[in-house]
């Protein structure tokens, strides 16, 4: 929704002290919270509802004396918990990453990467793009370290894999499922909120499906991402944007890309589906006032459970028009799957996407004299879903898949191995031409 009118709750993750309302002084350096990022003692924490103020039990002197570089812990304290809980919104960021398994995230796992080793920081401006928020203070991607041709063997397979890199994002193969270790919310229906009587039910992961403050949820663990063309740009719905309510679903964030755009690559996304309020007349998204400002608060939804009052107050705080009529719409957000990179040997194999390769025994279809190459091993070695399932991952339905990527849905005529790639026909295509 929006932090406007709910500052005190939302800003408990702000790197500052006391952003209670719109009067916060953003030029006052003494309000910066240095400790939240630079604590190394692990004892620092903020009060969740305290507008960023530290928990009164924290020994600030001890924490100040312990300051050091940022870590997965300090970054994670906020970024693992966005949206009100662990892995709720960032599907691929959860406390699992404090001490991750190899299969969970190969960088942060045995190699012990800290966040800032990739998210290079200069002058407190942290590199990295997000598909969820528009702000970008510097780009960083796999290519920065691994280059655009990351498969650096001199073998033919590397050549093929490097060719793929022109069309496919690294994580398409290297993170075939997301939220591997911790279920993430994929659906959130605000319209159902308010029923204090309704008893939450636990799903198969043990997650609750209902909260009277927030509504109804669906959780998923190790789901397969949605694949979309992505050229680096996002389309976003911003507060005040007029929406086309005739659409059944509206994308609030959506990657921009196309099969015809050479810069676009097939990239994995989590889709966060929500049901949220919209102004029936003005057709823009509504800002509810949820979190009570104080004891006297008369409008907060989480106190009075009255949407109408919450919208009137929230929209006033946001300085936007509200007609007085609201309705609920279904919205989607695309969240890029950027982390939880699996080890190389667990990337998708050739046949998991290219079914036509399943029966091949050699490379003869394209290459001469390749009898000594065990094509089958090459083409089949990859993500072992049955093994993952045996370890408790919810992926048993993915075992044996050979159509992991829906080529037709992405604009191909079919498997590009047969029908040709984006800009070049492949030699073994039925309309073969070099």
């Amino acid at each position: 929704m929006s932090i406007i009118s709910n500052e005190a709750r939302c800003t408990s993750c702000h790197a500052g002290y006391g952003w209670k309302d719109a009067t916060f002084d953003f030029t006052d350096m003494t309000k910066i919270d240095c400790l939240v990022c630079h604590d190394t003692s692990g004892t620092y924490k903020k009060t969740p509802t305290g507008a960023g103020m530290p928990d009164p039990t924290v020994d600030l002197v001890a924490v100040a004396k312990s300051v050091g570089p940022t870590s997965r812990k300090t970054c994670g304290d906020c970024h693992f918990n966005g949206g009100g809980g662990e892995a709720v919104k960032h599907s691929d960021l959860s406390r699992q990453l404090l001490h991750p398994e190899r299969s969970c995230d190969v960088h942060m796992g045995g190699y012990d990467f800290q966040c800032s080793e990739c998210h290079r920081t200069r002058n407190h401006k942290i590199a990295g793009r997000s598909s969820s928020v528009p702000v970008v203070e510097g780009s960083f991607s796999c290519q920065n370290c691994h280059t655009g041709k990351p498969h650096n063997g001199a073998k033919l397979l590397d050549h093929h894999l490097n060719k793929h890199c022109e069309t496919i994002d690294c994580n398409t193969c290297h993170a075939p499922v997301y939220a591997k270790c911790k279920p993430t919310k994929v659906f959130w229906d605000w319209s159902k909120a308010g029923d204090k009587e309704r008893k939450p039910k636990k799903d198969k992961y043990g997650m609750e499906d209902y909260n009277w403050k927030k509504g109804e949820f669906i959780w998923k663990e190790s789901p397969k991402p949605v694949y979309a063309w992505y050229g680096g740009f996002m389309k976003r719905v911003l507060l005040g944007d007029r929406l086309d309510l005739s659409q059944p679903e509206i994308n609030i964030t959506e990657p921009v890309g196309s099969i015809n755009d050479p810069n676009s690559r097939i990239s994995p996304f989590k889709i966060m589906k929500g049901v949220q309020p919209v102004d029936a007349d003005y057709k823009h998204l509504l800002v509810p006032h949820l979190f009570p400002r104080d004891k006297e608060d008369k409008t907060a939804y989480w106190k009075h459970r009255d949407w109408q009052k919450a919208f009137v107050d929230g929209m006033k705080a946001a300085d936007m028009k509200y007609s007085g009529k609201y309705e609920w719409i279904t919205t989607n957000m695309y969240w890029g799957v950027e982390h939880e990179v699996m080890p190389a040997d667990m990337a998708l194999s050739c046949v998991q996407c290219h079914e036509s390769l399943k029966g091949e025994r050699t490379c003869n279809r394209c290459h001469q004299d390749s009898r000594d190459v065990d094509f089958k091993t090459i083409a089949h070695k990859g993500t072992d879903f049955s093994y993952m399932a045996s370890k408790g991952r919810d992926v048993s339905h993915l075992v044996g898949t050979t159509d992991y990527i829906d080529f037709k849905g992405l604009g191909y005529k079919g498997d590009p191995i047969i029908h040709g790639g984006r800009f070049k026909k492949l030699p073994m295509g039925y309309k073969a031409e070099k």
């Binding site: 001490h99 793009r129 719905v237 370890k391």
Partner: protein, 257 residues
């Protein structure tokens, strides 16, 4: 050309991300992780451990090297049939005690040896000299020749730290690729603040910040302009809003949760 065997494939695949095989130990705990014991480190990368061990080693100093030109060197390597395929280690942690003895301001560098070899395709680019000793291996570690700086007997031999920096930065600059700033390769170590912090007991949070700012005022100034502080900033990758500098959660960005 295509005589790839299964073993080779495995090696390559391993090299892809610089990882050797080990039994995949998948996360076994899909339930809420609040109960997971955080201290338990389940998996460590074997090549990381090896790299750490290698980083600690100090190899015997090579007194004399064969002084030959780049071309001669390349020719020699070609003659003995060495190429980037023959590398034995794909990943190094540059964290030599030779350097650490005098320098603890930066953390170790993760050096992707295989990656660099793959990109340059020329061992002689970095392994510019070989030991004069014929029995020594053709290529050797940087730290075999480059150890302490300002060696009296070898006044022109760079110390290890300078050798790394000149080699890495020089090449990165020349190739216009790769980082040439400090933080591009290693994280900065933060000195122990135990004796630096001067705070009375039970300070207000603002007082803590003022104490930080006593020395880090520029950092505070930087922070005031950062997205983590303003929750808004430039949006160069948002379609139709690329020129805007005010977008963010604090303004009109929205979401559905």
């Amino acid at each position: 050309m295509t005589r790839t065997g299964p073993g080779v494939i495995l090696t390559i695949t391993a090299a892809l991300a610089g990882i050797l095989f080990s039994t995949p130990a998948l996360a076994a705990n899909p339930s809420p992780a609040e109960t997971a014991a955080p201290e338990k480190v389940v998996w460590t990368a074997p090549d990381q451990e090896e790299a750490e061990k290698r980083a600690e080693e100090v190899v015997p100093f090579v007194e004399a090297v064969m002084d030959e030109c780049r071309l001669c060197r390349q020719q020699r390597l070609r003659d003995v049939g060495l190429s980037v395929k023959d590398q034995s280690e794909s990943y190094f942690l540059l964290n030599s005690p030779i350097i650490r003895k005098t320098e603890d301001h930066y953390g170790p560098v993760r050096f992707m040896h295989a990656k660099h070899a793959g990109v340059t395709k020329d061992c002689a680019l970095c392994h510019h000299y070989r030991p004069l000793d014929e029995t020594a291996s053709e290529t050797t570690r940087c730290s075999a020749c480059h150890q302490e700086p300002f060696n009296k007997d070898h006044p022109e031999r760079l110390g290890l730290k300078a050798a790394y920096h000149q080699q890495c930065m020089g090449c990165h600059q020349e190739m216009d690729k790769g980082p040439i700033d400090c933080a591009g390769c290693h994280r900065k170590n933060v000195p122990d603040h135990k004796d630096l912090i001067q705070l009375a007991a039970n300070p207000e949070p603002f007082e803590v910040t003022s104490e930080c700012l006593r020395c880090h005022k520029p950092a505070g100034e930087d922070m005031l302009k950062s997205a983590h502080w303003l929750w808004k900033g430039p949006s160069p990758y948002t379609l139709h809003h690329r020129k805007e500098v005010e977008l963010g959660k604090a303004t009109i960005a929205t979401n559905n949760f």
